[in-house]
């Protein structure tokens, strides 16, 4: 079962290479050529030795010397081309996969990223892409090259005497097939063990550093370090097993090569003693064989990284295979400026899994109305907003804007008409002005300053070292929750959409900041339709109508 899955993943990865086949073949041919010329340096030297001892050779001594030098020269050039074109393919593919991953994330995004944990998983995918490089640059070509070298070398040995090719194959196959299989089995288990231990240690280390202040103040630093040491040694024990195994594989490979060299020598002596080959053939075969292992010895260590690579690829593919939870319909309509934009939610049922989170929820909101939906966390209040924005589609019932079901509205146009401010405003690591301009692509600096002024954040921005051109990342923690929310409000003011949704926008703020923010909202968004969800009484009271949601049922407060 598992092997089938691995095979499928490998085939799928191979498919990516198809458009780059010519370059890949170029890389492989250069690889083969490079290995052949490397062997030729030694084989021609043996030939020269034979010539000196009296063998009739087709070429003169000087020509053979020339061959030796030329082979040495070509070897380097071929190697260069092999590596360059192989990596070129790999990095082109990575760039392609990277952007195709981002594009499939764009489809899945809002639904996929709602909770922090799945967001983190997605984030880790970026690292997975780098891991796949191993497959494209260091697996496909080397394996093919090794297979081709196996055939070419065997043809050569066979031509001299069939028995040689049998003996040679024993050596080649044990190095490039038998040992890798043994290794792959081991690495699959131990590698996982090691990675788990390592990530355990790293997260403990991060925890220690982030919480350093607490550890020192509560005088727990030393006991924490003790814990980290224990984790370190657990990680090291796992690592030790891996290193030991690497040593073992190295030893086996080395032993196999020496023993098969010796075996070939003995077989050669036997054939020679029985007059089946000449002494010249004997020495040429022997030296060729002894210097031909280079393409084979890279194979055993491939399996160290390979299981990792496939796991990474599987994670990426499984994301790309996920279905878009709210697909765009074929001839979707576009909301116009003049369209009536009343919102009506009619008998909506919705659940993420089997249980219904929302049951028969109905609510009508006229244009310009400002309502609050109050409820405990987990009551489904945020879900209503997300359904309106089509993160998901409703299970039963319908949501309409004006007379149109949201499912039939072009997604881009739908989202252009609705803005949302949630608990935490994400600030991109760009300048403050770029962050605000997110609300309107063609905003001038005057527009931006205007919006900031209205949102009550202009003064703060002007106090920054580079004012509107300050990089948000450089501010780090210096921006408070209230200031972040105000940036979010400035974006929304700039965007000027008819409908604005607030999702617990003040739940990370203290009461003073909360009231100030509410004041700002009330002042700047007088003509907008507003839906606020909150668990705080102190927020809900600011709105025209208050609805309560409890266990999926919605009721208006009398």
């Amino acid at each position: 079962m598992n092997n089938m899955k691995t095979l499928k993943t490998a085939l799928r990865l191979l498919k990516f290479v198809k458009p780059f086949l010519p370059e890949m073949i170029f890389s492989i041919l250069n690889g083969v050529f490079g290995h052949i010329t490397a062997v030729c340096v030694m084989s021609f030297s043996a030939l020269l030795l034979c010539n000196i001892t009296g063998m009739e050779t087709f070429f003169s001594r000087n020509i053979i010397i020339l061959f030796i030098v030329i082979s040495a020269l070509i070897r380097g050039i071929s190697h260069y081309f092999e590596q360059y074109s192989g990596h070129d393919v790999a990095f082109r593919l990575l760039a392609k996969i990277r952007s195709s991953l981002f594009d499939s994330l764009r489809d899945l995004a809002p639904a996929k990223m709602v909770d922090k944990r799945s967001g983190d998983i997605v984030t880790s995918l970026m690292g997975d892409i780098e891991i796949i490089e191993v497959f494209f640059a260091h697996t496909i070509a080397p394996v093919t090259i090794t297979a081709l070298m196996f055939i070419i070398l065997n043809l050569f040995f066979f031509a001299i005497h069939p028995v040689f090719s049998i003996v040679a194959s024993i050596g080649y196959l044990s190095v490039a097939v038998l040992i890798p299989i043994l290794n792959y089995r081991f690495v699959k288990v131990e590698g996982k063990n090691y990675r788990n231990n390592l990530s355990d240690l790293n997260s403990s280390l991060i925890d220690t550093l982030q919480g350093l202040k607490e550890l020192i103040l509560f005088d727990r630093f030393n006991s924490r370090i003790k814990k980290n040491r224990a984790k370190t040694s657990a990680m090291q024990n796992a690592a030790k097993d891996i290193r030991k195994n690497e040593g073992l594989i190295d030893s086996f490979t080395d032993g196999s090569i020496i023993l098969s060299n010796a075996l070939l020598l003995i077989v050669g002596i036997f054939l020679f003693s029985n007059g089946l080959i000449s002494k010249y053939e004997f020495i040429i075969v022997l030296i060729t064989y002894m210097s031909s292992f280079a393409p084979f010895i890279v194979i055993p260590f491939l399996s160290n990284t390979l299981s990792n690579t496939f796991a990474a690829a599987e994670r990426i593919f499984s994301l790309e295979d996920e279905e878009n939870p709210s697909p765009e319909i074929a001839d979707s309509m576009i909301l116009k400026e003049s369209d009536e934009k009343d919102i009506s939610v009619n008998n909506v049922n919705f659940g993420y899994k089997k249980e219904f989170l929302l049951q028969n929820v109905s609510i009508n909101i006229k244009k310009g109305e400002k309502i609050a939906i109050q409820g405990e966390s987990g009551s489904g209040k945020t879900t209503i907003l997300r359904l309106l924005l089509r993160f998901w589609d409703v299970t039963g019932g319908e949501i309409k804007i004006g007379s149109e079901n949201v499912k039939n509205i072009n997604l881009e146009s739908l989202r252009n008409n609705i803005s949302m401010l949630s608990q935490e405003t994400y600030i991109f690591n760009k300048t403050i002005s770029e962050n605000i301009a997110l609300g309107k692509a063609d905003a001038t600096i005057e527009d931006i300053k205007n919006a900031a002024e209205k949102a009550g954040i202009n003064q703060f921005i002007e106090s920054l070292p580079n004012k509107y051109e300050t990089l948000a990342g450089a501010l780090g923690d210096k921006m408070s929750g209230g200031e972040r929310q105000r940036i979010g409000i400035a974006r929304i003011i700039l965007r000027n959409s008819d409908i604005v949704l607030f999702d617990e926008m003040t739940s990370n703020l203290d009461i003073l900041n909360e009231q100030l923010i509410l004041k700002t909202i009330n002042k700047t968004m007088e003509d907008k339709t507003i839906i606020t969800v909150t668990h705080r009484e102190s927020v809900a009271t600011h709105f025209d109508k208050i609805f309560f949601i409890n266990k999926g049922k919605l009721e208006q407060k009398k």
Binding site: Q83, L209, K213, F218, G247, F282, I283, F428, G481, I511
Partner: protein, 578 residues
């Protein structure tokens, strides 16, 4: 390349490194014996001797013994090289830890934790190759050509000298390319960091991008970044490959020329067939060690680069000295006496601060953000030392008190308290490891959080997630409060401790805290005046100076800054009706 700092750690593993080199030489000699056996066999073939079964058996026996020796040496070498790395890494980690405890908070307040994390986690790991592989190989690669010169020179001095002289071309070409690569490498790393940062930023903010319909534009921007990175990568790669090409070239040409010279000598009957085959098979050994060193060079240099940052950290000096052994146990009075403070020696954050806190008093410090409130606490806990003036506990300078006992006197709750990625219980036990469940619940009750915890399926064993991210800001603060209560210190320091808690609950929490801490002392920083008015004394900070201090009623009577803030806030807290 060995640098001075690393040398100190290299001394730690002198024995292991010597062993590693010794084992490399053992392998070298077994290889020579193997080649000798092969060349001898070739000689016999060329002399057309008759091979008896016993000669073949003897040959086979010799090979098997060699294989066995090599087998064990290689296995042992793997363990040895691992031990080398572990020994150095553990020492480095310990050094980092002890440096952390020395200047931890001060450093983190100034620089943040992110660079420290990379340094302690990845930086240390990257040194593995340097110590376990690169250094032994360096010594081996530098010494073995001399030995080969001796061995081959004994047979054929011209070939040996020729190859010997070619060897240095390999390291020279590495150095040459290193110089060229440095700039390109720098550009490459910048481009890499830039790209992955952009990707992360875009993924984390993807929902925002989607909602503003800016995801498509971002996708195109990322494509361009990705492409740009790819081009840079290829540039670096082509440089690296060029250096590999040069190394390959010199190794192969060197070996080939050596072999050709030997063969010419052979044709002139200067050396025997056995000697010729011996040289032929051994020639590449001149170059392989250097070639391998070149392959390790890149990984080794990564380690050195990482170590630079580690040593920079290890060489940091703490300004806060823990020189006294006098422990403090009980609290009677705290005095700030004409305290001035500046982080950078230029801008004064606190100016001429003088106030006192008596045992059992609750003192509030209020003021706008940036007025220097939190700095008071940083100074009191000696994250930094005052620039001028004095802070006294029980009449003695806090600099004369042993640091751990000083910090143990206080229980602190700050605005951004860190929760460990662990259970609620373990997060509480940080304050008091021996506390039982009842004590934990009592503390949680104080923070108005016990019912919530009881409703969780795993109760106290509930995991709070990384950064406590599975909890809301208010919930995190409640655990932090409970933690401080559990510690039962003489003085509480609250720095905006309930800023994320709902208004209604906030009042209740403070009522309970005031209730249980009747005999204890508290310094409360808050910009909520409703909390401040409950205190015995209120200190109003403005721009780093004490504007006024006194009780609520006194300050209201002053009709100054406090009065103004108070009127503004009462208006807000009432909410506004339309």
């Amino acid at each position: 390349m060995i640098n001075r700092n690393l040398l100190k750690y290299l001394k730690l593993v002198k024995k292991e490194t010597l062993l590693a080199i010794l084992m490399k030489y053992t392998l070298f000699f077994t290889n020579i014996l193997f080649i000798l056996a092969i060349s001898n066999a070739v000689k016999e073939v060329f002399l057309s001797s008759n091979f008896s079964a016993s000669t073949i058996l003897l040959f086979l026996l010799e090979i098997i013994i060699l294989v066995i020796i090599r087998f064990f040496v290689k296995r042992f070498a793997a363990v040895n090289s691992f031990n080398t790395a572990v020994k150095v890494q553990n020492k480095l980690r310990d050094d980092i830890y002890s440096k952390l405890s020395e200047l931890g908070i001060e450093y983190i307040e100034k620089r943040g934790t992110s660079s420290l994390t990379t340094l302690a986690a990845e930086g240390v790991e990257q040194l593995e190759v340097y110590f376990s592989k690169y250094i032994p190989q360096l010594f081996y690669a530098l010494s073995v050509p001399f030995l080969l010169l001796l061995i081959i020179g004994n047979i054929e001095i011209k070939a040996a000298l020729l190859m010997f002289c070619m060897v240095p071309l390999i390291p020279l070409s590495i150095v040459f390319f290193m110089k060229k690569a440095k700039k390109t490498m720098g550009m490459f790393w910048n481009s890499y960091e830039n790209m992955s940062e952009q990707f992360l930023d875009s993924i984390q903010g993807l929902t925002t991008l989607k909602l503003f319909n800016r995801d498509k534009a971002k996708s195109l921007e990322l494509k361009e970044k990705s492409e740009n990175f790819r081009r840079k990568t290829m540039k670096v790669l082509s440089l690296q490959l060029s250096s590999i090409f040069i190394m390959d070239f010199f190794s192969l040409i060197g070996a080939a020329l050596g072999i050709i010279v030997a063969l010419i000598s052979f044709s002139n009957n200067e050396i025997s067939i056995m000697q010729t085959v011996f040289i032929l098979l051994l020639a590449s050994e001149f170059f392989l060690p250097m070639r391998l060193l070149g392959a390790l060079f890149h990984a080794g240099m990564n380690g050195v680069a990482a170590s630079d940052n580690i040593f920079k950290f290890l060489n940091e000096k703490s300004n806060v000295k823990n020189s006294s052994k006098n422990k403090i146990e009980n609290f009677s009075i705290l005095n700030f006496k004409n305290v001035n403070f500046s982080y950078d020696g230029k801008r004064e954050v606190l100016k001429n601060i003088t106030f006192s806190v008596n045992k059992g008093e609750k003192v509030a410090v209020i003021g706008k953000s940036g007025s220097g409130k939190s700095t008071l606490i940083s100074l009191l806990l000696r994250f930094f030392d005052v620039s001028e003036g004095k802070i006294e506990l029980n009449g003695g300078d806090i600099k004369e008190i042993e640091l751990t006992s000083l910090r143990n006197l206080f229980a602190t709750v700050s605005q951004k308290t860190y929760l460990f990625n662990d259970t609620i219980k373990n997060n509480l036990l940080i304050a008091k490891p021996e506390a039982n469940e009842d004590e934990c619940f009592d503390a949680l009750k104080m923070a108005g959080f016990s019912n919530f915890v009881k409703s969780l399926p795993e109760v106290l064993e509930h995991n709070v997630g990384e950064w406590g991210n599975l909890l809301s800001g208010g919930q995190k603060q409640r655990i932090a409060l409970a933690r401080a209560v559990l510690k039962q210190s003489d003085i509480y320091l609250f720095d905006e401790a309930t800023s994320n808690v709902d208004a209604d609950n906030e009042e209740e929490i403070w009522d309970r805290i005031f209730d249980i801490s009747k005999d204890q002392t508290a310094l409360i920083i808050s910009h909520r005046l409703s909390v401040a008015r409950k205190c015995d004394k209120i200190i109003v900070l403005d721009n780093g100076k004490i504007k006024e201090q006194g009780t609520h009623n006194e300050l209201i009577g002053n009709r100054s800054l406090y009065y103004k803030m108070h009127s503004e806030q009462s208006l807000l807290e009432k909410g506004f009706t339309k």
